[in-house]
Amino acid sequence: MQPQKTEQFTVPIGPQHPALKEPSSFLISVDGEVVTNAIVRLGYAHRGIEKATESRTYVQNLYLLERICGICSHIHGTAFAMGVERLAGVEVPPRAQAIRLIIAELERIHSHMLWLGVGAHQGGFDALFMFSWRDRETVMDLLESISGNRVNYSANVLGGVKFDLTAAHIGDILKALDYLEERTHHYLKVVTTDASFLQRTRGIGTMTRHQAEVLGAIGPTARASGVLRDVRIEAPYGAYVDHPVTTITDDRGDLEARFAVRIKELFESYRLIREVLDDLPPGDIKTRVKRKIPEGEAAFRVEAPRGELFYFIKSDGTDIPSRVKVRTPTICNMTSVVKLAVGHQLADVPMILAGIDPCFSCNDRMVRVNRNNGSDGWTWEQLRQHGIEYYKQRSQDYDPLVVG
């Protein structure tokens, strides 16, 4: 190849699993091993959900929106249901609110555990990955026994929740929390003291408090940089009004801080669940909501495991919403990845990306293309040729690299 004028080289990462097993594409310019620029391209898991909400009833949308994300499905359903309940002027029974909180916190535990595993895996620490996922199964089993599903619990209905907690469930939850608490202490110790792992996290991807504010970071990513941004505290909703949360922040802003903040949040979730279970209000678990929702607009914010989730619902007085806008947490934090990657080693990029706990299916929601072009699919050769053309268009020439 001709020697180029500048020593810049662009490395395409993705769309196939850039860090997580989810699609997203990054064009990373490197000078040697050091990243000089990063461009993000999303949309590989785009399903047209926002548009689809405009042709479904509120009841149907509840389940559609829950499927935006498999990990934080309950919180999507909760945000939508609570937004609609606010529009309808319905008061949800306190027991339903408490159950929503418990499921949301259990979901946060399993999401943070999942992230801990993914983060460790990116750092090459597969023992931590496997053991944290083993312990995550405890929560998954709990959620399965409460709701009947491991993911997409469908706990919400408009006006309450579907299922009640029995005494047996409460006993199971308390027992599981004791076990998890013990394990979480161990994991906190591992990520803050293990020398080999600290080399991958300490001082990597540091985001100062000012940067976090300017780049609009939210959720645990922002809290690890010392920005106190937690909807559960800023704008308490549902049962969080009666059961306040203590926020965990860290001033260091590097990957180690992000690990520490998320693991410490687990303790807060355990405490909160115990507190709510201790004082579970009696009564109904649902109330009736009319099918037609009165005209109006509602903005509803909740704290998803990854940060603030923003729902905007506009109703025109029918049983079908006029517009549902979903702003998921990952999109806010994506700007910070692109910025933080600059100046780091290329090998640190997956860790930095994993550090914000990205969820691409959350990001990508809107339009789906149904390709009915009638072809019988592609042969391997066609596919390879397409790949070459595709990267050529993106100024990457792989032609000389292709063997046979």
């Binding site: 461009i39 949309g43 548009k51 504010e213 920005v227 800023e234 517009r323 806010c332």
Partner: protein
């Protein structure tokens, strides 16, 4: 610290800043924790957002596009700023046919993905974007088709892809 502000204080301050502006704006509080400010002209956006930034009032939580329909002939862009439990919305109505708006990225760098989304989904030209590339839609998405507009017809895509595959077959 802006986060230590209470909801009521935030609404009072926002009302003070935005409603008592040098030129008149329409404002309505649809709920105690919300303030909606409707701008008369899109060019008022930058001064208003600057005013919020100077007061360090909230952070940009979302940019929502609303299509009021072809009969109405307008799009409405909602800039939602959140502080404590307050949601301060700056509503900018713009004509559907000539949808142009100034970019906020110079003031708020984090606004970039929202604006890219807005421009590809609603066909709004955002002036001054650093990176005007598509964010979500596929590379071969037809030009001038904006999926979140109310008059979006999915059959356009079907025809578009058919034409493409026909063209590919001819090659």
């Amino acid at each position: 610290m802006p986060t230590s502000m209470t909801t009521a204080e935030a609404i009072t301050l926002a009302t003070d800043v935005l409603v008592n502006w040098v030129w008149p704006v329409e404002a309505a509080p649809p709920a105690p924790d919300r303030l909606d400010v409707t701008l008369k002209e899109p060019k008022e956006l930058i001064p208003m957002v600057t005013a919020l930034r100077v007061q360090r009032l909230g952070y940009l939580s979302a940019i929502t596009g609303l299509d009021l329909g072809p009969e109405d002939g307008r799009l409405e862009i909602l800039y939602q700023f959140c502080v404590a439990a307050a949601v301060i919305t700056i509503r900018v109505p713009i004509p559907r046919e000539d949808a142009t708006i100034q970019s906020l990225t110079d003031l708020i760098p984090g606004a970039e993905p929202y604006e890219r989304e807005l421009s590809e989904m609603f066909g709004v030209t955002v002036v001054g974007m650093r990176n005007p590339l598509r964010l979500y839609l596929p590379d071969d998405w037809p030009e001038g088709v904006y999926p979140l507009r109310k008059d979006f017809d999915p059959s356009v895509l079907h025809n578009h892809h058919k034409e493409q595959s026909d063209a590919a077959a001819e090659d």
